[in-house]
Every structure is written in structure tokens, then in C-alpha cells.
Symmetry: C2
Subunit: 238 residues, 2 copies
DNA sequence: ACAATAGTGTCTGTAAGACAGTATTGG
DNA sequence: CCAATACTGTCTTACAGACACTATTGT
């Protein structure tokens, strides 16, 4: 397609740089964490040594689509193949990258556990979200991360999204903990259980023993492709 | 910024084409409509003569940002300056444009009325959404339009978005009609009014006379920058 | 007075939150 | 038996929906 066909209309104008960045969330020690990578120190590199979200240029010969590009970045950094992956939005202007007018396509991913923290050569680190937002990140990655956290927090109020942060099978008390971690407030056990089970997005898979106390029922997601919407938010807006 | 500074890192790879498309909604005759433009017939133009969403290449010298670019497209086609404008998402892959790997940033706008239907030279038309989705549109614009309609329909269930489709001041019965048009089902008057007034996003501006019957109270939006979220959807999910 | 439209009051059903209760495991 | 955790039942409250009612205009 992009090879030989002569096109008479004028395409000889300057094109922006096109990148994809991925905000990868997981939960470690009951804390919502995001994956950061260190920018290289090479000559001419923007923001050398700064922490940044994993990402990079779209390779028009390697990447079939933006989504495929995001999946590639995620795979390269974490080894995870089939995560929950959702487009977050795009950020593009003349000044966000010193190398020129650039537009980045941001995705956000929810994965179960840092399967491999160090994949390729780059230095990567899981950082608690609140802490990551206090660091001086490269480019406008503070904005991207902020938007991602806000979107996640918002959606947690009325979707099953947090279930994608847990390895399967999981128990309802575990899931409730995740909700509470992301929302930053406690939830009522009875209401939580009724809500999850009524939404009918979980499949029971047997009983899971824990260290102490009564074993809990194990569950997995009926559909790992998309989240379920609840008819209401958790607490009425005020 | 993009001028003279020598950068040693290698930027000599092929860059995708970067465009912005805008899905512009309005309501005409109690129908949700979208603005379409006819593709030019020139030699080498993709999809000559087909209907498409208004949009075009990002001009790195003219557009300060993607959002500014979308506002420019909207202004050029409709003359509208300050609409509700929200990013919809991005579509990018190797095949959507025959001229090469391209990525488009889609926005969706809600405006009050086709102030000027014909701005620049291009042929433009307001088309009812359902009908537009049955036409064969250029590029992957069917997908973009479909996503925009779905997003709008979805958000109408729990946000004040439809208010941006009306010229101010408007009345509650008018607003309810818009909700019903977009949702495609009738709503209860009492419940609707309670919900709108409780959400506290409207400001009363006096009384508006109509052709027949009792005059209605006029309202305008307290904040034209963003929509208000309701705590529940209109009808419980089933 | 009547048509037409705007706006209100009242009842009911549903579901979330609060919270106390019961159930099942290991030591 | 006790600690610890999982799960359930019951009561209350909030609010959306249904629907009948009242209010205000023009003719």
C-alpha cells in the first residue's frame, strides 16, 4: 500500500511524530501501582534519566495498528499477552516533545501481577500511583497518568474493572479489597456481595483455602474481554 | 522548537499520516443529525465523491494542538466557536487510508443549530444519524460515527450532555424531548424534572412563551465547559 | 369554557447501606 | 473453645417510575 503507487495529491508537508504510551496498572501489597521506565541517557534523547511511561514511536512496518503497537509495548515490558487494554485518549501538540510536533496515543492496561518486572534492557519499576504522580515525569506523562488514574477511579464506581487486577481464581473478599484500595474508602460487605453476584459476570470455580478462617468461594470472569457496567455508582454522588 | 536544533538520535524513519476528524451532532426536527462532507474528486484523492466526516491533516505550523485542530475544523465547517467538544478516541492502522499508514484523532461535538451549513467551498449536509450509518462512508468513518453515536447514547443515560444540543435558553419539556430523541424511548415527566433540577446544573432565566398552552420556565447551563454526571442511569440495566 | 401545555403530589417497587447475625475453617 | 474469616438476613432509606392531579396560558 505504502510502496510504489504514485499519488499526485500533495503529501509533502511535515508530519508529526507519532507515539504510543501505555499506563500499566497492577496491585502490589494492596497498593495501586503503575509501571515506569527510565529514559535513556544518550545524546539528543529528550528528558534523559527521567521516569516515564513505557512507550515509543509507532513503527509503520512492524505495527499493524495502534492497538497492536500498544500490545507490543506491553509485551516487551511485562511479558503479559492478553491484558485488559483500553484506549485512554491522545495528547498532541507542538511542545510536548522537544524533537518536534508530536502526538501520542495513550492506552491503559490492567494486569494481574508483575509477571516479569525486567523484560528488555531498560530499567523498569512498579511505583505506587500516588507516589508516581509526585515524581517529575518525562514529557506530559504526568497528565497521562493523572487522566488514567482518574478514569480508573471513576470507572471503578460502576464497573467490574478491578477484577482484571487480580489473578484468577479470586475470592469476593479479595475483590472487595481491590475495590477499596482503588476507591480509597471502605465498602459494606453485604452490599458489595449482592452487587457483584447480581451483575452475573463471575463464574464460581470451587473453594479456596486461606491462611486463617473459613475458606472462600473462588471465582473467575465470565468474559475477559470487557468489563460489566453496574446500574448505579457505589455511593450516591454528593 | 521544530526549527534548527540538531538532534543526533535517529528520527529518519517513516512517519504515519496524522489527521483529525470531528463528529458534529445537532438536532434538527427532533432528529439526531450529524454533519457530513463530500470528498473531493481530484486525482489521487482517496474515496472521491464519497461522504465523510469533516476532518483533515494536522498542520504542524497552524495547529497548536490536536484540540485546536479539531476546533479549527469545526469552525471552518459550521462557524461555531465554543461548542461542547470531547475527544472520542483514535483510529490508526496501515490500511485505513490508501495513501499510507495513518492515524486519526476523532472528536465529537454537540452544537445547538446549524448556524451556517455551508462555510467553505466543500459540500456539506446534515444527515440523520441512522441514515448516515446506512451510507457507505469514506475511510473507516462508519466505525468512528458508530462509536460516536454509541458514546453519546451511552452518556445520555447518566449525563447532562443533551443540553448542549439546545440553544439557550431552553425549557425542561424541550430538554426532555431531546433526551427522548437520542434515547429513542419516552421518559416520565415527573422523574425527569426531579432529576434535572436535583442535579443543580441549570440556572433559571425567566419564562418562555410558546405557541399554545402555559409558558415554561427558561433555563441555561451553569457551566458550558463540562457535562454533569447523574448518580444513576435512567432505566435500571436489565 | 376548552384545548394545550407546564408543573406537582402521592404511591410503590427496587436496591443499596447499615449492621447484626450465622457458618466454617485451623489451632 | 476461640480466633479468624466467610457469608446471610433483616431493617431502613433513597429515589426512580407510574400516574393522577393542579396551574397557567391563548382562543
Amino acid at each position: 500500500m505504502s510502496s510504489s503507487r504514485a499519488v499526485s495529491s500533495n503529501l509533502n508537508f511535515e508530519r508529526p511524530l507519532v507515539t504510543v504510551d501505555v499506563v500499566i496498572f497492577t496491585v502490589v501489597d494492596e497498593q495501586l501501582c503503575v509501571l515506569l521506565v527510565r529514559r535513556p541517557e544518550g545524546d539528543g534523547e529528550p528528558f534523559p534519566g527521567r521516569w516515564a511511561l513505557p512507550g515509543g514511536f509507532v513503527n509503520v512496518h512492524q505495527d499493524a495498528s495502534l492497538q497492536a503497537c500498544a500490545e507490543r509495548k506491553l509485551r516487551e515490558k511485562t511479558g503479559v499477552v492478553a491484558p485488559y487494554l483500553e484506549q485512554l485518549g491522545s495528547w498532541g501538540d507542538a511542545r510536548r516533545d522537544p524533537r518536534g510536533w508530536s502526538a501520542t496515543h495513550a492506552y491503559f492496561a490492567l494486569i494481574a501481577q508483575p509477571a516479569i518486572s525486567t523484560g528488555s534492557g531498560a530499567v523498569t519499576e512498579w511505583v505506587a500511583c500516588d507516589q508516581a504522580l509526585r515524581r517529575r515525569l518525562a514529557f506530559d506523562h504526568h497528565s497521562l497518568l493523572d487522566a488514567a488514574v482518574e478514569r480508573l477511579r471513576g470507572k471503578v464506581e460502576y464497573t467490574s474493572l478491578p477484577a482484571f487486577l487480580l489473578p484468577e481464581p479470586f475470592t469476593l473478599p479479595q475483590l472487595q479489597r481491590i475495590y477499596e484500595v482503588v476507591l480509597g474508602r471502605p465498602l459494606d460487605k453485604s452490599a458489595f456481595r449482592k452487587r457483584m453476584l447480581d451483575a452475573d459476570f463471575l463464574v464460581e470455580t470451587g473453594t479456596l483455602a486461606r491462611e486463617h478462617g473459613r475458606p472462600a468461594a473462588g471465582y473467575r470472569l465470565r468474559d475477559r474481554e470487557q468489563a460489566t457496567l453496574f446500574p448505579r455508582t457505589f455511593k450516591a454522588a454528593e
